[in-house]
Amino acid sequence: MTAVTAIRPDAALAESLFSVPSLRCAGCIAKVENGLATVEGIAAARVNFTAKRVRIAHDPALDQPRLAAEIERIGFAAEPISSEIARQEAGDSKRLIRAMAVAGFAMMNIMLLSVSVWSGAAGATRDLFHWLSAMIAIPTVAYAGWPFFTSAWTALRHGRTNMDVPISIGVVLATVMSLFETFVSGPHAYFDGAVSLLFFLLVGRVLDSVMRDRARDAVTALLRQTAKGALVLLADGASRWVDAVRIEPGMRMLVASGERLAADGVIEAGRSSFDLSLLTGESAPQPASVGTSVHAGTLNLGAPVTVRVTAAGPDTVIADIARMMDNAAQAKSRYVRIADRAARYYAPAVHTLAFLSFVGWMIAGAGWHQSLMIAVAVLIITCPCALGLAVPAAQIVAAGALGRAGILIKDGSALERLAEVDRALFDKTGTLTLGRPEVREPLAIPEAHWPIALALAQASRHPLAEALRRRLSAEGVTAAELEQIVEHPGEGVEGWFAGRRTWLGRDSAMEGLRDAIGTRLLIEGEEPVTIGFEDRLRSAVPETLERLRGLGIEASILSGDRACAVAPVAKGLGLSAQTSARPEDKLAAIGRYAGAGAKVLMVGDGLNDGPALAAGHVSMAPASASDVGQTAADAVFLGDSFAPVATAIVAARRTMRVVRQNFAIAVGYNVVAVPLAIVGLVTPLIAALAMSGSSLIVIANALRLRGAAR
């Protein structure tokens, strides 16, 4: 059911994609679709429940913040997703699934024909069946084999070899030889072998690709929109929403309380404080007034300010960090996956064996035709069917198990690298800690005043007020009824209770206490109360560190925060720490460890961790991390607990154990089957049985990983 309302038919429609994580039921689908359909300028809205997304076709005049506001008005929080991400997703998996469908269809039909050949069809019938098989197999090999051929060709052109090289050679040679057999009315054709080989391998590829898509979907659904634009003041005093990419130096942005800056600039009017934690890792907010320079990506905590843009787009501090990340990520792209490492030894061995059996039989006087057929049998038998499935099957089962435990792994190679880790570096703010203020225990407010404090806290969206609200709501407090509640942005909230003035916010007594995060509750006629806040540790941090130690992984802190803020945490956890590290310092630290031969796991969340996350041998980020952090990390974990870090490593190591077992199974099967093939005893029937048998065993072994994340 797509809700459609009339719109000017000639208008060119723009399309926007929103992530709506709170979609839970059929009613939500109807509410969003019907609700949006009544909005003027929206032509159609279609919910994708699986991906928790809404696709909206609308008048280009409606901008993304307007649309997001409309969805919020219906009652759902929405975040825009850039259309570029959406476009990327379509490609690879679909191409592979199509190839797999074709190979599956062809395999079934050829097998059907082959069964009658194996059961004794002879003469003209056998020739007819071989010809039919050839007609089905040749187009299939050309279509379904394409992903392997292109990959093998790329590898060969760069002077390397990978799994796809023996696969391609085996499949092509088997097809060509079988075609020749068919011409000369020979008894053995390997069309079924070649096609079912492609089918099994494509199953492996599809699994690998589906796993990557699923993790990417989950991560894009998490990505919150940091300022992708700003309200810009125009010359005539009006203001207009401008996309981040179109902001230019010299423009003046209005930055509301709770908004992230979209560009670097200097404050022209207003006083406020800024949360730099995503950019520098510093936990305490920094005060800013006229003349202070502020950076893109930081969060305005206080009053609205006007900022004159000094640098935008590629010139901002954020863009510098992005460039550093690109460079750092190149090192990681050189990682060779285990299947390809195996292929380095496997491919030459297989080709030598096949070649030697050909030469051997020639010398024995078998004639070139029979010798070649035996060589083809060796190639088909040794073709890494079980090897091709061994890695992806184990990895997708493990990634599924981890996903259910709230750990999203971006791809299979991340699991491989995670298993090798022997050194861990943690960022502090937002990684070891929650990265948001929590009320310091014990709560300083006397119980009698809780309802008043809650009523005041509810009136503001300041992070401290929200923390107080969470704390008091957890006690089951009901808010008192206050009159004339007014929020003074950046200062506090004022209200009247039974004729007495009440105030929650900063006051003169707190000036000069720059480092302390705190606020004051004043009630006329009562002693003022100072409420302390702190950035608390995630749950299960000490236990996780203990588990890591048990796994032989040494850990330390690598923080951008000042030493005085890091010291208590480091001391409490018994970790050594490097403090005040800028992004380039973090990169250098990782470089040092890597240079000493360590495989570093980097866990971080901020923009400032981006380069380090990209440079680490493997990296993880919490779901509360910045976009940059989540994009750069190999795995993202949900929730307030730190335990997933150890869980992921344990699961990754179990996965690699299963992968190695799978390799052993594949090799063991070769040890039995290859001598048979070399002696010339393998017929297409035996090849088909051996191939499907070993594949099934490998898949069954991989399924044991379903409980890996427990």
Binding site: M1, C25, A26, G27, I29, A30, N34, V47, N48, F49, T50, A51, K94, I97, R98, A101, V102, F105, M108, N109, L112, T125, L128, L132, I136
Partner: protein, 56 residues
Amino acid sequence: MNGLSILIPIALLLGLSSLAAFFWAMRTGQFEDLDGAALRILIEDTPEPEEPGRAR
């Protein structure tokens, strides 16, 4: 042999048609929203017209 010349084309045709059906389903996005499709049958196509003042 005569039976074969009829049965084999039929078998191939059936297989091909299901392959074509699968391709069509992929192209038209039938697999895009599997969970949503299960829920959509619960949604009423048109909201019930409001008829105030009329007892049921």
